[in-house]
C-alpha cells in the first residue's frame, strides 16, 4: 500500500509537469493561433465582398472594404443573431447602394450551434446565395412576405439569418455613407487643396476659398472618436461625420445618428440625454477644433 504522502507527491508532480508543459505549448502557439485567426477573418471578409483591403471601423464588427484603386466599395459587418441552438456567427457584405454582396455563416467547427443535419444547412451555398442582391426591403422569408426560401424543417434558423441581416443593416446603415470623400461634409465645394497633410483642406468654390474641411479626434467614452468637419469662411458648419468610433452600442453610438450630426449645421447641439459623455466629447471636440483652425478661415 502506497503511503498517503507518496500519493499526494506523485499527483502534485504530475499536475505540475502537465501545467508547465501546457503553459509552454500555449505561449508558443498563441501568436500563431492569433495569426491564423486573422487570416481566417480576412478570408471570410473576402468571401462576402470583392475588395483588397479591409479597414476596421468598429473593431471585430464593422469593416470598410477598399478595392485596389483605393475606393471604398462597401462595408462588411459581423453580427450574432439568436438562432435555434445559439447565436449564429454571421458576416454580411453591403455595397454602397445597400445591396447585399454576400453572406458568410461560420461552420459548426467555428461555433455554429444549430441542429446538425437541419439548422446547419444555412451554411450551404443554395441558401446563402439567395441573399446576394437583396436589400432591406426583401430580405425576409417568402412566408413573411420576402424573397428568401426557408430550409425545410429549419424555419427558425432560416428566419434568424434574415432577421439578423435585417437588424444589422438597420443598425449599421449609418456606416454605409461615412465620408467617402470630403464633399460629404462640404457639398458646395468644387475642389479641395491640402493645407495640413491628412488633416486640413481648403475648400474651393467657383473661384476662391469658401471654407475648410478638417479631420480631428477627441476622446470618447470607450475609445477615440475620429470625425470630419466642414466649415465655411463665415464659421458656419456645413457638415459633421464620424470616421471612427467605438462607443457603447445602443447608447454612445447614437452620436452616429443622422439627426444628431445634421443638427451641427444649425448650431452646436446640446448633449444627448443618456449618452452625455459620448455626445459631449464630440460637441466639445468640434467646438475646440473649429476654434483652433479659425486662422485658416481668413
Amino acid at each position: 500500500m502506497t503511503s498517503t504522502r507518496s500519493m499526494v507527491v506523485t499527483l502534485f508532480i504530475v499536475a505540475l509537469v502537465c501545467s508547465v508543459i501546457l503553459s509552454f505549448v500555449y505561449s508558443y502557439t498563441a501568436p500563431r493561433i492569433e495569426e491564423t485567426q486573422k487570416e481566417l477573418t480576412l478570408a471570410g471578409l473576402k468571401e462576402v465582398i470583392i475588395a483588397e483591403v479591409f479597414t476596421p471601423v468598429v473593431p471585430d464588427t464593422v469593416w470598410k472594404a477598399i478595392d485596389s484603386t483605393q475606393n471604398v466599395v462597401g462595408i462588411v459587418f459581423r453580427v450574432f443573431p439568436q438562432g435555434y441552438g445559439g447565436p449564429i456567427p454571421l458576416m454580411v457584405g453591403l455595397d454602397l447602394e445597400g445591396k447585399i454582396t454576400g453572406i458568410r455563416i461560420a461552420s459548426a467547427a467555428e461555433g455554429l450551434k444549430e441542429t446538425p443535419g437541419l439548422g446547419v444547412k444555412i451554411i450551404e451555398p443554395d441558401f446563402r446565395e439567395q441573399f446576394i442582391g437583396k436589400t432591406l426591403d426583401n430580405v425576409f422569408l417568402k412566408r413573411d412576405g420576402g424573397e428568401i426560401d426557408a430550409i425545410t424543417a429549419a424555419t427558425i434558423s432560416s428566419r434568424a439569418v434574415c432577421n439578423g441581416i435585417k437588424q444589422a443593416i438597420e443598425k449599421f446603415a449609418s456606416y454605409l455613407c461615412p465620408p467617402l470623400d470630403k464633399r460629404c461634409v462640404f457639398p458646395d465645394a468644387q475642389d479641395f487643396i491640402e493645407a495640413i497633410t491628412d488633416t486640413l483642406w481648403y475648400a474651393f468654390g467657383e473661384s476662391d476659398t469658401i471654407g475648410i474641411v478638417f479631420i480631428a479626434t477627441t476622446q470618447g467614452y470607450a475609445d477615440q472618436i475620429e470625425f470630419i468637419v466642414g466649415v465655411t469662411m463665415q464659421g458656419q458648419i456645413t457638415g459633421v461625420e464620424i470616421l471612427y468610433s467605438n462607443e457603447t452600442p445602443g447608447i454612445g453610438e447614437v452620436i452616429r445618428s443622422k439627426e444628431f450630426l445634421d443638427s451641427f449645421k444649425e448650431k452646436i447641439p446640446d448633449a444627448i440625454t443618456g449618452a452625455t459623455v459620448s455626445s459631449k466629447a464630440l460637441i466639445n471636440g468640434v467646438k475646440e477644433k473649429v476654434e483652433c483652425y479659425k486662422d485658416y478661415l481668413k
Partner: protein
C-alpha cells in the same frame, strides 16, 4: 493473446459503443452525418492510440490509489496540446475536426481503455488495443451516421443517392436525437445476436 487478436477484438466483438456500451454520448451526438461520424471516429482513434501508449509507459510510476485523476490529467493535457497545435499549424484540419476535440477530452471511452487495459499491459499491446478500439468506435459511428444520413437527409456524404425527391422530403426524425437512439438500439440488438452466435 496475439497482437492481431488484440486489434480485431475491438472492432466488433468488444465494440466499445455496441458491446461495451461506453462512449455513447459522442456516438449519439455526432452520428447525424457520415462526414461528422467519420471525423469524430478518426480523432478519437488518434487520441486513444497515443493516450494508451503514454499511460502504458507510465503505468509503473502511477500509484494505484490516485490513478484516475492522473489518467485524466495526462489525457486532457495531451488532447489540449494537440488542440493548440492543430489550431496554430493546421487551421483547415482544425475547422473539420476541432469541434470534436472538447468531446474527446472528457470521453469515458478513452479513460476506460486507460483504466481497463493500458494501465495493466505492455506498451505494444496497449497501442494495438487503442487502435482496434478506436477503429471499432469509428466503424460503429460511421454505420450509424450512414443510416441516419441516408434516411434522415436523403444523402450519403452529401450526395443525393435516393433521388432528389427523397432528399426534399426525408425522414427528418432520423437525423434528430430520437433517431440516434432508435438506430443504436437496432444495431445493439443485431450485434447481440451476432456476438452470441459466435460465442456459442
Amino acid at each position: 493473446m496475439k497482437k492481431s487478436q488484440i486489434f480485431t477484438r475491438g472492432l466488433i466483438k468488444e465494440n466499445v459503443v455496441l458491446v461495451l456500451m461506453i462512449g455513447l454520448c459522442p456516438a449519439l451526438a455526432v452520428s447525424g452525418t457520415v462526414r461528422d461520424a467519420f471525423g469524430m471516429g478518426l480523432a478519437a482513434t488518434f487520441v486513444l492510440f497515443f493516450s494508451n501508449i503514454i499511460i502504458s509507459i507510465m503505468r509503473k510510476a502511477i500509484p494505484n490509489e490516485v490513478r484516475i485523476p492522473i489518467f485524466i490529467l495526462i489525457i486532457s493535457t495531451f488532447v489540449t496540446i494537440i488542440d493548440y497545435f492543430m489550431q496554430a499549424f493546421q487551421p483547415s484540419l482544425y475547422r473539420a475536426l476541432g469541434v470534436f476535440v472538447p468531446l474527446i477530452v472528457v470521453n469515458c471511452m478513452i479513460l476506460g481503455r486507460a483504466e481497463a487495459y493500458a494501465s495493466k499491459n505492455s506498451v505494444i499491446n496497449s497501442a494495438f488495443d487503442g487502435l482496434g478500439v478506436g477503429l471499432g468506435f469509428t466503424l460503429a459511428l460511421t454505420v450509424m451516421g450512414a443510416i441516419r444520413e441516408i434516411l434522415g437527409n436523403g444523402t450519403f456524404l452529401g450526395m443525393a443517392i435516393l433521388g432528389q425527391g427523397f432528399k426534399n422530403a426525408p425522414v427528418i426524425f432520423m437525423i434528430l436525437p430520437p433517431g440516434a437512439f432508435l438506430v443504436i438500439g437496432v444495431m445493439k440488438a443485431l450485434i447481440n445476436k451476432y456476438v452470441k452466435k459466435e460465442t456459442q
